[in-house]
């Protein structure tokens, strides 16, 4: 399967997909993204609603039929996991190339 059409992921999408390795509703994802990005990425409610809607349409995440009946609970799909894996490889390659040129991952990096 060619996953290239999904790549590269935006920073927002990347963090949302990572967060949804565990199921959660919109506000949980907002908090999780902020935490995972060390407070760097803060997604506002309207943006998050649209992002979850788009990712669901693209079948990268799906709505779970459990838990809170009033809030939709999302989780990453198999396709989402494959895309995330591909993106991890892509980013790792960029990092390895950068390291060849002498750029090291520095201590206390904020992202």
């Amino acid at each position: 399967m060619n996953l290239d059409k999904y790549l590269p992921l935006t920073e927002t999408t990347l963090y949302i997909l990572l967060s949804l390795n565990e199921p959660g509703h919109g506000y949980i994802v907002m908090q999780k993204v902020e935490e995972l990005s060390n407070g760097k990425v803060r997604i506002a409610a309207g943006t998050m609603y649209g992002a979850l809607e788009n990712l669901t349409k693209q079948n990268l995440i799906s709505i779970l039929d459990v838990g809170d009946k009033r809030r939709k609970v999302y989780q990453i799909t198999e396709l989402g996991k494959m895309v995330l894996q591909q993106e991890t490889n892509r980013l790792a390659h960029i990092v390895s190339v950068a390291e060849k040129y002498g750029y090291k991952i520095t201590e206390g990096s904020d992202c």
């Binding site: 919109g26 506000y27 907002m30 409610a45 309207g46 943006t47 998050m48 009033r70």
Partner: protein, 209 residues
């Protein structure tokens, strides 16, 4: 304070609500064309708008709860209204309901698309009218043919004016009622292009994230 006002253009509505806020009048709640304000607003208040329709009540509730969870109180809008207004009263939360330029711009795209749907819905109706010969261009050249009163044009004085004025609404109906569809299409199309331009402009501003 209660104000009744009607907005065709949601961008103008948003400008007005925020202008009122600057003057210290804070929108508390609104249904349709009725707006309720309080006159001494909290200086931290921020009012933002979104534009969405919902397929089900559950979808709408899920949407409202996500905003409520993150500190935005819903003050205007229903499942089908499109326009949704939120108010933030807690200074600790984010200042906007959108955190990047593409999602902010997408709101205007949803507004524009609503008008486009209406334009597209009226086009087949207009084509049916054209095909059935309802479009009467001759009426522009010979409007007198639209009057059916026998001997109307031979009458004089008050008698003529009375008969003429009486029949005019019917004549206009006969000759020009088809015009309503092209006029609606142009009118809705105007809103579509206007909002689409706002969308293009917003989408070109640099992304925040």
């Amino acid at each position: 304070m209660k104000i009744r006002k009607y907005f065709m253009d949601p961008v103008k509505e948003e400008k007005w609500i925020n202008q009122m806020l600057k003057e210290g009048k804070e929108l508390v709640y609104s249904t349709g064309c009725t707006y309720y304000f309080i006159e001494e607003s909290n200086p931290y208040v921020i009012i933002k708008s979104d534009y969405r329709y919902f397929k089900s009540q559950n979808d709408f509730l899920d949407y409202l709860l996500m905003f409520e969870d993150s500190g935005w109180m819903h003050i205007k809008g229903t499942k089908y209204s499109g326009v949704q207004y939120f108010k933030k009263t807690n200074c600790a939360e984010a200042d906007d309901i959108f955190s990047d330029a593409p999602s902010k711009a997408a709101k205007y795209k949803r507004m524009a698309d609503m008008w486009l749907t209406l334009v597209l819905a009226y086009i087949p109706i207009t084509i049916v009218f054209i095909n059935n010969g309802y479009i009467n261009l001759r009426a522009f050249l010979y409007p007198q043919e639209l009057y059916y009163t026998p001997g109307l044009w031979d009458m004089t004085g008050t008698k003529f004016w009375k008969a003429f004025m009486f029949e005019t609404p019917f004549a206009v109906g006969r000759g020009f009622s088809w015009l309503i569809f092209p006029v609606i299409i142009l009118f809705y199309g105007y809103f579509y292009f206007k909002l689409h331009r706002v969308y293009k402009r917003e989408n070109h501003t640099k992304s925040v994230i």
